[in-house]
Symmetry: D2
Subunit: 139 residues, 4 copies
């Protein structure tokens, strides 16, 4: 599990004075990138190899709202990894009151920039990520 | 079903030269509001009654990417309505090539501004929305 | 002058229950693109010619706030055009109360994708845009 | 001067594969808040006192583009402070190549939530901010 910290900015809030729900999708992206970095995998390096990693599915359950200036932890687990798919699970946790405020999941794939087709993740990247995976049975 | 049109703006695109996936969550929000308007229900009016409608769950399946300047239809169905919950299903359709490029779902609730608790949607709003519902069995 | 309409969405609002100021920069971008379209100039076509048009300067004066569901007109004027620079002025107007709520300005340039250098806008695009310019003395 | 660090996220990039220009406005907001925090002034505390601080003017000069994963410093100076106005100047600096990539400015004011009118910033906040000001002649 990798923990990425996020501060709720004023521009994240909406007219209900809570973080707008779309921001959680952005925070999960940032957390995912930091997970890759933690694994020693640079997305710039992968992209230079002609591989991109579009998101096929994203979802989020909102349990409690977060507010301006809250400090949040995006606790990120790599729960499924194959050569063609990568599934992350996220827990958005607020240390101040020890609440899990949201739970999210994304499923991505690896695609060739050239052909637009799904490709297998090269072994060197695969190994580094697999070493940090915490596999679970997820659909 | 209500059809809300969206134009992909340059600021929606990301470094992969496609619409960033978080924007679909925003487009679904706009479509949802327009669905309410179509039902004769103004969110400003509901909020003036002290009711807000937070999102409890949002998800999206990304089937094809969309690109700068694409014209998209957000085809929105109210698939489940109770006094406490409202579920919308969305199909993001691109008329130019007749492709469904994404499918989404949101589940919301009605909450009192005062107490922060879930409340029952008043009858007058309920009826107008129920008249347009296309119920389906969804989890 | 080209008038582009924008609806203030809930996701545009912030915790002060007004449109967050950064959105005006996005709305000006959308209005600018529609101005180009009005001139018969497609940005996709220009980009296919290897030309991009980064923003060098953007500014906005906020006179009144706008709120959720407001309908706004982005009144866009091309006030300066040379082969290397393009300056737009924007008035954000709310018809409901006849208020100018903001005034903005952007200065852009034309740049070669290949070299990253500023280039002269080809004659065919220049003429179409120049025909709609309302030049003024602006710094 | 206060230095706030920002990482360029993938969602900050646009189809030109650089940070979209509107994000600089957001980064300046985050930097401004951190400047207040550095001065011992909590915006939540000011808001609890019924004071909000809308932006009256924002501008940015874009000198160089930034790219995905760049680490940026938002170097923030309070250059003008009166009881009714607060002007910040920002230099967006990229340590990796020692480039100033953008310069921005915002002018804000202090407004009563109750009346919507401009009000004077209370002495206790004023003093803490004034102690960190680096006044300059700015319009």
């Amino acid at each position: 599990m990798y923990v990425h910290e996020v501060r709720v900015r004023f521009y994240h809030t909406d007219g209900m004075q809570v973080s707008h729900h779309a921001n959680y999708i952005l925070w999960m992206e940032a957390a995912r990138v930091e997970f890759f970095r933690w694994a020693g995998v640079s997305l710039n390096e992968i992209m230079a190899d002609g591989i991109v990693f579009p998101i096929l599915h994203a979802e989020c359950d909102y349990l409690h709202s977060s507010r301006y200036d809250d400090l949040l932890e995006i606790r990120t687990k790599l729960v499924r990894l194959s050569r063609a798919q990568i599934v992350f699970r996220y827990e958005i946790f607020r240390p101040a009151d020890q609440q899990v405020i949201a739970r999210g999941l994304t499923r991505g794939t690896f695609t060739s920039v050239k052909t637009g087709r799904i490709i297998r993740l090269p072994q060197n990247y695969y190994e580094r990520l697999a070493a940090l995976a915490e596999p679970e049975d997820c659909e």
